[in-house]
């Protein structure tokens, strides 16, 4: 293929997905607040002085602000109220506690707030305020981590707790850019290093075994990047699971291939997954597996590359492993209507038996379909119970087979909210996030 031909084809490939936006130019120009003052740009010497002063203030503020604000029960301006509807993330569920992050909006709402409830969502405590794009949280009994990634420099901001979330301490950030974070427990974690400025094909994997105090490079990832959406709140490109003999097995999501490692990330091999006859030859999108001891569940989504992009054309199957992830077999199809509509399926896996699915259509932005549903299984996908006309649930997290929380959207503006269930997802009650103890 000639250079010219390739250039044309690349252009065509991008252009084939173009959707015009008539009137955008005028809309954009008319929305500019012309009377607003410009941001000041400081000279370098002034900047250095200002930087030092700001750094000192930030350190003091970071140390003092959360507990002080919590003590005063004061809201940081912009975190609540104002014209912006707050956006939330369902961060973690840990025994009796549920954690919700009220997200900042870059350029509009300053910083994120971590809220915790230990009474089923009746009252909430303001635990931590932090900056950056909130990326994830994991809790392990009394220990836990929460982190944000600063764009565009990909600087990790990491906090940890050792008292079940009551107080949080900033952990020194690694010096390299960070693209993905996962913790297996309070000591062991992995980060994928990378940023738009990083070179090609050498995304290094770093490991910590001392609770993120130090990081060691253990290898590089296979050169098959996943879809961008793998990088997002509560999702991980790389995870690790512990085998019954204490050894570790790692998982890396590629674009159409799941990889595994048994040497801590030094080398990676493709995971063999045989497609059911009904979807032979279809393209697959892997997700991360979940384990209960040696038993694992691996959701795989299939799409017919020549078919229409709708629910009848797509399938999701749950594969089972009984040997800690060495082999995967017995794919069970998700119930009818729970194939991805367009491109979205949300899964919540409590253990290898208890799994929940939501089915949504988010095409064209945040336009969620009118009649969403939740499906649940308590036997690893052999049989399903489907509840229809549920709230528009985006993601669920369960503490046990019956008690869980969900993030939903409602109303014409797709307002975020938190729900709770005490009957495995059959009925949902809205949680009021504004009630402070």
């Amino acid at each position: 293929m000639t250079d010219e031909r390739l250039a044309v084809e690349i252009r065509d490939a991008f252009d084939s997905r173009h959707v015009p936006s008539p009137g955008l130019e005028n809309k954009v120009v008319s929305a500019i607040p012309w009377d607003g003052p410009p941001h000041r740009t400081a000279s370098v010497p002034r900047l250095a002085g200002a930087f030092a002063a700001t750094l000192t203030l930030l350190i003091v503020a970071a140390l003092v602000a959360p507990s002080f604000l919590s003590w005063l029960n004061v809201q940081i301006p912009g975190i609540t109220g104002g014209p912006q509807t707050p956006a939330y993330s369902l961060a973690a569920v840990n025994g009796q506690s549920v954690f919700v992050v009220q997200r900042g909006i870059p350029g509009q709402v300053a910083g994120n707030a971590l809220l915790q409830s230990s009474d089923g969502g009746r009252t909430w405590s303001d635990r931590l305020h932090f900056v950056g794009v909130y990326d994830g949280m994991q809790v392990f009994g009394t220990d836990g981590f929460i982190w944000a990634i600063d764009i565009p420099n990909y600087v990790l901001t990491l906090y940890r707790t050792a008292d079940s979330g009551s107080s949080w301490t900033a952990v020194p950030a690694p010096i390299f850019p960070v693209d993905d974070v996962f913790f297996l427990d309070a000591s062991h974690g992995w980060v994928v290093s990378g940023s738009p400025q990083t070179g090609l094909g050498s995304e290094p994997l770093y490991e910590t075994s001392d609770g993120a105090a130090t990081w060691n490079r253990v290898g590089t990832l296979p050169q098959q990047a996943p879809m961008s959406r793998v990088f997002g709140v509560g999702t991980h490109r790389v995870t690790f699971s512990r085998q019954v003999d204490g050894s570790l097995r790692g998982w890396d999501i590629g674009a159409a291939q799941l990889y595994t490692t048994t040497d801590g990330g030094g080398s990676w091999q493709p995971v063999a997954i045989s497609a059911p006859a009904a979807v032979a030859g279809w393209t697959l999108t892997p997700t991360q597996p979940a384990f209960s001891g040696q038993e694992g569940i691996l959701p795989i989504a299939y799409r017919d590359p020549t078919g229409p992009d709708n629910a009848t054309a797509n399938r999701i199957y749950l594969y089972v492993s009984r040997d800690g992830g060495s082999t995967w077999s017995d794919p069970q199809p998700a119930p009818a209507g729970f194939a991805p509509v367009g491109d979205i399926v949300s899964t919540s896996i409590l253990d290898s038996k208890h799994i929940w699915l939501t089915s949504l259509s988010l095409s064209g932005g945040d336009n969620v379909q009118a009649k969403p549903a939740v499906a649940r299984t308590s036997d690893g996908g052999l049989s399903w119970t489907v509840v229809r006309n549920t709230p528009r649930i985006l993601v669920m997290t369960f503490a046990d087979p019956t008690h869980g929380y969900a993030l939903d959207v409602s109303g014409p503006d797709n307002t975020n909210g938190i729900l709770r269930t005490s009957d495995a997802g059959t009925t949902w009650q809205r949680v009021d996030l504004s009630v402070k103890p």
Binding site: R11, D15, R17, E25, I149, P196, G232, L362
Partner: protein
């Protein structure tokens, strides 16, 4: 008024000058954002942010460079990356379905290429779009990506070679 004069005036807060600079960049910025985000509303938001931040930070305009295009497109690129990362739902996302109107003969090639593009990391898709779709010179591509022109050139070679193993490389026009 010439381009340098416009840039100078925009830097000093002349609304008309800024508007004149901004308007021709809205469409390429939207194309870039849509290619990266694949959602019209999100792409429109990214372009709006570009305009707001561009005006708010107009003092950063450097008339001596002769253009604000790389600066404004870099804002869009960052907005897109942030939007992708800030998703608050846990999802699987499929690649877009193929265009069924494409002739059978070309389908395999084009579908392969689109899949190859889909599988590229964000930064590489951004690079391809800036160079091949927006037709930016490599020096401006480098400015948007925040790397040197040499690094942008060599990355372009490597990306195209990776997409097409049989292809030697692409001749990069400076």
């Amino acid at each position: 008024m010439d381009e340098l004069g416009l840039l100078d005036q925009a830097r000093l807060g002349d609304r008309r000058a800024f508007e004149d600079i901004l308007r021709p960049l809205v469409e390429p910025a939207y194309r870039l954002a849509l290619a990266m985000l694949r959602e019209r509303e999100a792409a429109e938001d990214a372009v709006q942010e570009m305009a707001l931040k561009g005006w708010r930070h107009r003092r950063r305009i450097r008339p001596e460079l002769g253009t604000v295009r790389p600066w404004l497109l870099a804002i869009v690129a960052n907005e897109c990356r942030m939007a992708l990362r800030a998703r608050w739902w846990s999802v699987l996302r499929f690649a877009e379905p193929p265009d069924r109107a494409i002739a059978e003969r070309d389908l395999a090639t084009r579908f392969d290429l689109r899949q190859a593009i889909d599988r590229l990391p964000y930064r590489d898709r951004l690079l391809l779009h800036l160079y091949f779709v927006l037709d930016l010179p490599i020096s401006e591509v480098a400015q948007v990506l925040g790397i040197s022109a040499g690094a942008a050139k060599s990355r372009l070679h490597r990306v195209t070679r990776r997409m097409r193993p049989g292809l030697d490389s692409v001749e990069v026009v400076p």
